[in-house]
Amino acid sequence: MTEFLTQNHHLAGVLTGILFGVGARLLTLKTDYRQYPTYPHGRIIHISLGVIAAALGAVAVPALFEKDYTAITFLTLAAQQFRDVRKMERETLTKIDSLELVSRGATYIEGIAMVFEGRNYLVIMSSLLTSLFAILFNVWVGAAIGLLTLLVVLKLKSGKSISHLADVRVGNVRIDGPDLYVDDIYMMNVGLQANRQIIAERGTGYILVPKNSNAKVTLSNLGQRQAILYDLATIMGVYRDDGEPALVPIAKLDMKDGRLAVFHLPQEPDTDKGRQVVLKVPILESAVRMPTEAPVNRKGESHV
């Protein structure tokens, strides 16, 4: 076995690279409460693409060693391929979104699509580095580097959640005539007595208090708000049907101090659980803003 590995040095390197590349894809492929990628076919698609990505990354190194520099151009092919993956995911999710009771929103979809593309590049990185070290030194060094890249991949995989941005507390849902409030924040006008009764019985509200001025801007993003509503609706259930526009979950901002009020009619009226759900909503990359990073907001620095 060891003899075979030393004789087929490049082959061994490529195989280790592929192995760790696929490992990286499997590590990052998680079907959670959102059930996306769908099981089993959605997963099969992404595992297969992961194998392709791993193979592309792994064979680039021996190609370089053979002084076959044009082989590197295959990597651009890979980039094209994975951009298509992103496009495919975006299109599918957008189509499905129109048939959801509570939609994900374009920002959430873009976030998911971006993750699919990005993770394939992580796979390429993992397999490229693994095969590079496996070929430069030996398979064991390659494997060690492979393990290291898996750790990096794991680290890059996890994003932040609302709990980093805001404190969440349960708000009091109050109906004053036709007006619906969560604590002191005005949500909407509810015309029908029937709907008011449902809201009084089942409505839950949450107040998100941003921790700093960056959080304030990110929370006010409509895509981020829709993500909160979507996650609440997915995990806590939603008490509504098509043709019941008055029962949609909504999120409104208190424009004075940046607090966000969320109103939701769950199937399961457990506000503690709901609060945990809101805290765990992912922060969407495309919604993040950092006004404090602007030169005008930085103290002690010259304004350029």
Binding site: S98, E100, L101, S103, G177, P178, G191, L192, Q193, A194
Partner: protein
Amino acid sequence: MSKIVAVVSLRREHVGGGAPIFIASDGAKLEELSFLLEKIMDASAHQLNDETMILVDRGHTKS
């Protein structure tokens, strides 16, 4: 942009304009008419005052 698809009122002289107007004889009828229209038109009923409701279509946004 949202659109008013119907107006339901107790007082004919208080409402007008381009949307179909439904006149109810009392508060209960106002409620009932608005309820029916909400389900039929897939538009949400909003109360302007005790005598008038409008049905607003928000372009079929699901959220």
